[in-house]
């Protein structure tokens, strides 16, 4: 016989102001199987929880319904309290009479009637709850970090420094990501490569980190603690183990006019190349599409030039299977193609460039060795116009969101330009200056006050070429007047967007993403570094536009999540999983096909002599995530979902 305790929380006035809690408590007091029905101002408070515990002990309750806020709020709180009072935590359910009742209805009478229905229905469910035990799954203590930018490197180093194994996978030939492309970084103006390259080296040389560059993730199977990851090691055509990175091949390579991806097309590279001089590992790859040998079958100059015979044109992609316990996704971002703003002339005029290209111009290791020169003729620009929000915060043509870093890097660009080109005039068209962050506002002030960055609040409508000048027409909304600036160079503060293949990749590894392709966190505020898939964490700009400090912070946070997971040999999981009744299962395998996690396997039922009598479905508790899609498919109702069983749902409906 059920003895259910019903605890009706006033939530201060939040519930009690609308729902007649006394009527509710008395209605539930008369409900069959309810042993105790009490109301209280705040059950989530310490004394509130204590009273729940006391009621459980005093009445030997077999189940608890807390009528309060959303289960998404305090289900865990009350389940824990129940466990402390000796009641299986899964015998506790929350009836949501706040978010879905008191807050949304005007009529107190009707709200109370609804609250009674909600709680009664939940009492009927709880009567049919089963005690559940958390599921233990073993954990492979090896992390996979996908992406070798600053976020990935940071996460890998943090995990490795804590003594756990890491596999760091980067699809480009070298570690570094976008940060390696930057010149100086805000707000300190320290050289990006100076702080980045040591970390790259540290990661590459760390005994706990296995570095796989020029490699891509083919597939991810398995589940938290037990992922099986297949990695494609793309053919470099250069033997990794023998190459010393002497660079002879690069020097001799006759194809020298290939636009360098690292230099954002401003610089040139060879067909056999490392993306940049400080590449880690310092082992070149051959760009098959541009290599003369691959195109014409003749050349092989690199083969001849290599003193160690490392070049191998016959090399094939290789595959490696990894056993992984946790995954950190740090796949970064891309910059939007500004050609979509025809009126700004990007792609049409050589001297209209984007922010990242400006970084390369300003970088000491860049194609101009840090001199600010116009791409068209190499002249030093006397006037540079910076256009902020070139794509960001523009629902019509660009993206709706703020790319977060552009205000800061534009200020930085203006400062770098002022430092490098004396007397140079910078004009910055902006919508707002968003400079929240430690030392950020001071930084933009410095740009304005010390480096004479000329900020103009307004949008640019057109850029055109006139007499060798880039004419920029915009509006100064503060003066309420149109302005025209004759510039030598225009820099667009391009929007940060998700990697073009971000959505496809999300499907490969099985995580969620938003409309832009940025990866979804499990909870925006409270679980910002976890993806919706257990055991997969997010770091850096793959989740949303971020600057370096944020990326690094999130990477360390992800690492700490991974380390927490690795802190035990076994992992406890919510026992809300599917269970199959093998005696009624007809073995049609509909559930096997329907399962999003491949969590259902075929199992042979044998008689005593070992002969297979029938084959039935069997749920792998480690893989099952508890969606219940299989349950709905099952025509004979053989599969059921613990915590949301057919019996429970039935009772909920019948209890209404």
């Amino acid at each position: 016989m059920s003895k259910i305790g019903v605890f009706i929380c006033h939530c201060g006035e939040n519930i009690a102001a609308k729902v007649d809690c006394t009527r509710l408590a008395s209605a539930l007091g008369d409900h069959p199987g309810v042993a105790s029905s009490i109301e209280y101002k705040y059950f989530c408070s310490d004394p509130g929880q204590e009273s729940v515990k006391k009621a459980i002990r005093d009445n030997n309750l077999t189940g608890v319904v807390v009528a309060a806020c959303s289960p998404r709020m305090h289900e865990a709180t009350f389940r824990k309290a129940c466990a402390e009072a000796g009641l299986n935590p899964y015998m506790c359910e929350i009836a949501n009479i706040r978010e879905q009742c008191s807050w949304v209805h005007n009529d107190g009478e009707k709200a109370t009637d609804k609250a009674i229905d909600i709680v009664r229905s939940m009492v009927e469910k709880v009567k049919r709850n089963n005690t559940l035990q958390p599921i233990e799954v073993p954990v492979t203590r090896r992390a996979l970090v996908i992406g070798g930018g600053i976020a990935g490197i940071q996460a890998a180093l943090d995990i490795a420094n804590a003594g756990q194994e890491v596999v760091l996978v980067e699809r480009e030939p070298s570690l570094g990501g976008h940060m390696a492309q930057l010149s100086e970084t805000f707000p300190t103006l320290d050289c990006s490569q100076c702080i980045m390259t040591p970390r790259m080296v540290e990661a590459a040389q760390h005994p706990k980190i296995r570095l796989l560059t020029y490699a891509e993730i083919e597939s991810v199977d398995g589940y938290i603690g037990n992922f099986q990851v297949k990695v494609r090691l793309k053919a470099r055509y250069v033997n990794k183990s023998t190459c010393t990175g002497c660079g002879e091949c690069i020097t001799k390579c006759p194809s020298k006019k290939i636009a360098s991806e690292f230099d954002c097309g401003i610089g040139r590279r060879t067909a056999i190349y490392t993306p940049f001089a400080q590449a880690v590992p310092n082992i070149p790859v051959i760009d098959k599409n541009n290599c003369t040998y691959f195109k014409n079958g003749k050349c092989k100059i690199c083969v001849k030039s290599c003193p160690l015979d490392c070049i191998d044109f016959g090399m094939q992609d290789e595959f490696e299977d990894l056993e992984i316990g946790a995954i950190v996704v740090a796949t970064g971002f891309q910059v939007q193609n500004n050609a979509l703003y025809g009126e700004y002339g990007y792609g049409k005029y050589q001297d209209v460039i984007n922010g990242l290209q400006f970084e390369r111009l300003a970088s000491a290791s860049g194609p101009t060795a840090g001199k600010i020169q116009r791409p068209s003729d190499g002249k030093e620009p006397e006037t540079v116009v910076f256009i902020q929000c070139a794509g960001s915060r523009d629902p019509s043509k660009g993206v709706k969101y703020c790319s977060k870093i552009c205000c800061m890097y534009t200020a930085k660009h203006a400062m770098l330009y002022a430092h490098k080109v004396h007397g140079g005039k910078s004009r910055i068209f902006y919508m707002d200056i968003r400079a929240a962050g430690k030392g950020y506002d001071e930084f933009t002030r410095r740009a304005i006050e010390e480096d004479e960055a000329g900020y103009l609040r307004g949008r640019v409508s057109k850029v055109w070429l006139e007499n060798g000048k880039l004419m920029v027409r915009g509006v100064d909304t503060l003066l309420g007047k149109p302005v025209e600036v004759a510039a030598d160079m225009v820099v667009l503060a391009t929007a940060m967007i998700a990697q073009p293949d971000a959505k496809e990749f999300a499907k490969t590894i099985g995580i969620g993403y938003d409309e832009y392709g940025f990866y979804n966190e499990a909870h925006l505020k409270l679980r910002p570094v976890e993806s919706s898939t257990a055991g997969i964490y997010l770091a850096g700009a793959c989740q949303s536009p971020k600057d370096i400090p944020d990326s690094v912070a999130q990477a360390s946070a992800s690492a700490s999540k991974v380390l927490a997971l690795f802190s035990k040999e076994k992992l406890e999981r919510e026992p809300v999983i599917a269970v199959n009744n093998e005696s009624t299962c007809a073995g049609c395998w509909g559930c096997v096909l329907a399962c999003p996690y491949d969590a259902i396997e075929k199992k042979d039922i044998k008689d005593r002599s070992g002969k297979v009598i029938k084959r039935v479905a069997s749920v792998n508790p480690g893989l099952c995530q508890g969606c219940g899609t299989c349950v709905t498919f099952c025509r004979s109702n053989s599969i059921d979902l613990a915590g949301f069983t057919e019996k429970q749902i039935f009772a909920e409906v019948m209890g209404l």
Binding site: E99, S121, G628, T629, V631, T632, L641, F650
Partner: protein, 149 residues
């Protein structure tokens, strides 16, 4: 004057999107009609056509089934499976004479508190206009009566 007809509506929703959307409607203090009773499931994939039949059997005048938008499913494709089932079941119910207007399906994300509130209001009004589901109620009443002969 008799009381105006208050439709009885049962909703089956997934916890990750629509239930969260309903919570958001609450935290945003949006107001909507009190006629809907929500049953929370982990995923739309868990919402069985049986639930619809049972809710009708309990006298529901209308039913709402709702979950995550395509692509947003927490369980990656529970809602895609659900969508097929709904398509088929909906056709079947319609062919059996259960008016399509009484059983509504929607995608409501965790961010769409407003959509949730609006939908509840519009569904309540739609069903109110349709009136009680007398034909089904008559079947239910028959089960409560003594044998006919």
């Amino acid at each position: 004057m008799s009381e105006p007809f208050e439709p009885k509506i049962t909703a089956f929703v997934c916890t990750y999107c629509t239930y969260a959307g309903a919570d958001l409607a609450g935290t945003s203090r949006l107001k909507y009609a009190p006629n809907v009773r929500i049953i929370r499931l982990p995923c739309t994939g868990r919402i069985s056509p049986m639930f619809i039949l049972k809710a009708l059997q309990k006298g529901a005048d209308g039913i709402l089934i709702s979950g995550c938008h395509p692509g947003d499913c927490h369980f990656t494709h529970g809602n895609y499976h659900a969508r097929r089932r709904w398509m088929v079941f909906r056709a079947l119910l319609s062919f059996s004479g259960i008016p399509e207007e009484r059983i509504k399906y929607s995608w409501i994300s965790a961010a769409e508190g407003l959509k949730f509130a609006d939908l509840i209001n519009s569904i309540t009004e739609d069903i109110r206009k349709l009136g009680p589901f007398d034909q089904y109620h008559q079947l239910i009443e028959e089960t409560q009566a003594q044998a006919s002969l």
